[in-house]
């Protein structure tokens, strides 16, 4: 709680420093604090609290974890790196991280690529039954993975892909493409068709139009579809559980649960460290893309 308060104050102090030259009246500044900063601070605290919990748990020695009477659970009294060391050196964690990254990236590129083409065809080429095909793709997303994974496993075996990350790269698009396509159809709609018409009149080919005009304008859509696809691949659990058997080829969510839960004993420290470390690199990538995503969209639409 104390940190939370401190963080809150920090935000406010920072805010007031910045606002100072703007000669705001006290009244409106107080109002701003109440309507913007306080709710925002509460949001951030609530959204981040579980991570704070994960973070401190990952550096807590075991005996502090359950002893609330002696040790304030919000703080670590004698921090230890043992949990993290165990995670990094006693398990194949770095490797799982690489595999997960690789699978998520590949699945994302395949899905976004396929979706761009499909969405472009449906939205811009406007062939007969385009709407129906769009609907069919959308319906594909309604199929829950819980029903698919056993029949899919048979297929994966027939293709000789069992226990290979490639199995994941090829199956993840089944739930990524439908909604990427729908997202992109929406974005393509927001790009004025007149731009393409002009280009067509100038004699550009369809593919040139797609590459030179539509795609650059759709970058925000591509990025949000990409972010989306990446997150879903990163989080996927059932397929990764069913199709991969070798310890060293598992993805992070599956591997952490397998390796750090021994029967009814959960190794909380390493478990939490694993979840947290797994998210940090992604969070950094996101922090870069989110800005791009939001701002480039503004630019694209204004044009």
């Amino acid at each position: 709680m104390t940190e939370a308060l401190a963080a809150n104050q920090e935000v406010q102090v920072a805010a007031s420093l910045k606002d100072a030259p703007e000669l705001l009246s006290w009244d409106s500044r107080a109002r701003r604090v109440i309507t913007v900063y306080i709710p925002l601070a509460i949001f951030i605290i609530v959204l981040l609290f579980p991570f704070y919990w994960m973070a401190i748990t990952s550096i807590k020695p075991d005996y502090e974890m359950y002893n609330y009477k002696q040790f304030n659970p919000f703080w670590v009294h004698s921090p230890t790196l043992a949990n993290i060391r165990k995670l990094l050196f006693d398990t194949e964690y770095p490797r799982w991280l690489m595999i997960t990254m690789g699978v998520a990236t590949a699945a994302t590129f395949i899905s976004v690529g396929a979706s761009v083409l499909a969405a472009y065809a449906i939205e811009r080429l406007r062939f007969q039954h385009a709407q129906h095909i769009g609907l069919a793709i959308y319906l594909a997303y309604l199929v829950p993975p819980t029903i698919l994974f056993i029949p899919l496993a048979t297929l994966i075996f027939q293709f000789g892909l069992f226990d290979s990350p490639l199995a994941l790269v090829l199956t993840y698009p089944t739930f990524l493409i439908p909604f990427c396509t729908w997202l992109l159809i929406g974005y393509f709609k927001s790009i004025p068709y007149e731009l393409e018409e002009c280009a067509l009149i100038d004699g550009a080919s369809r593919l040139q139009i797609l590459r030179r005009i539509t795609l650059p304008l759709a970058v925000p859509g591509l990025i949000s579809a990409g972010i989306f696809a990446f997150t879903l691949s990163w989080n996927e659990f059932i397929y990764a559980l069913a199709f991969i058997q070798s310890t060293e080829r598992k993805t992070v969510p599956v591997a952490i649960l397998t390796e750090l839960v021994t029967g009814d004993v959960y190794q909380w420290g390493s478990l939490m460290a694993g979840s947290l470390l797994g998210s940090v690199p992604v969070a950094i990538i996101y922090s870069f893309f989110v800005e791009y995503y939001v701002s480039s969209m503004t630019g694209a639409v204004k044009e």
Binding site: T154, F157, Q245, V254, T258, V261, D264
Partner: protein
Amino acid sequence: MAGLTRRDTLLSGTAALIGAATLPLIGAHAADLDVPTADVKSPDFKAESGATLRVLRPAKFVDPDEVLFRANTKKFSDQTGIPVRVDFVGWEDVQPQTAVAANTGAGPDIIIGFGSAPQIYANKLIQMNDLAEYLGAKYGGWHQLAQIYSCRWGTQDWLAIPMGGSGGASVYRVSWLKEAGYDSIPNDHAGFLEMATKLKKNNHPIGFALGHAVGDGNGFANWLLWSFGASLTDEKGKVSLDSKETIAALNYARELYPQMIEGTLSWGDPSNNKAFAAGDISLTFNGVSIYYVAKNSSDPKLQAIAADTNHQVPPLGMAKKSPSSSLVVNAMAFRHTKYPNACKEYLRFMMEAPQYAPWLAGCLGYWSNSLKAYGKMAFWDADPKLKPYIDSMDTPYYDSYKGPISAASSAVAANYTLVDMFASVATGNATPEAAVKTAARQAARYLKG
């Protein structure tokens, strides 16, 4: 190497393993691991040339479990030249992965799965009669539970080799029971309830999982049922839940529940471990994990808890033998394997004393033996607190007792039908009569008898 249990083989084997892994191996001497064997000729499984094996097994309980299992496997590869790779998967992931392997007819050659798996996959497994009979003859016979789970129902045909079981026992705090005036846990229901009441008064309540916890929830529900002489089905597999014994068990659960710590309705498998380690509960049913973790902790507090912890077979009530089952692990060789003989040879090797004894000892009671002779190792005397776990597999009780084990009976357990029945009565959400009817109906959806 045909089934020798010479001390020198053992010594060098164990020493190498310990050296390799720096195990907390409780200072077991070779003598502690001496296993009485009968002189039986080893069946000659001629491994196919060019054989390679893949083994899938549940994740380790404790580090030595994995380390020794891998070391034994490596020893096998070194001696036979057959490469074997072992993959460990999370407990609850064994089932989906076995399902995938069985349905697709590919994947690991050997899967070490839980409980009912051999019955469910019966048609996809290689018969193990020769190996099982040899092992049984050599090591003093199989425990009852091993036969129940691994033989095709109602026959002596072995579908799998039971490698061990993880038994449940009462885990309790000696000093708190003393404080309440008990040296040991009463074996009758009334006495147990009275003790629970006293413990609660002293602010050291007992705690049993009533939530959807695969191991602990079903374990507690089964204890209630069996210790009252009730059963889910009759011998033919027809639902026999709706009986006066079950009603008695439900009434008892309703009386016991207020004496338990709050919140057990949402307990998962790790919850009682946590609560016990925090000193919040004085008694629960569990495997040896609570004790093991506390004993090996670097924290003096947990070590003190370990010193104050003891185990006892769960109260018998009206049962003659421990009314709790074990989580049995069965090694199944699938018909899709190209190397059935190599599979058998591997399993034979793993079950022989030079390998099995150090493994069992290293697991410190986490696994209890499926072959009777391994219960006679002197190692079990090293820590008397482990005694109640030795014969965990010497019990007639199994999940879905008394009917045949089948996909249908495991469906009932997987749906937590019994757990929910007890939970709804304990909390007063249903009368015993209504709850038993609902549960029987749910069970009968699968068990058509």
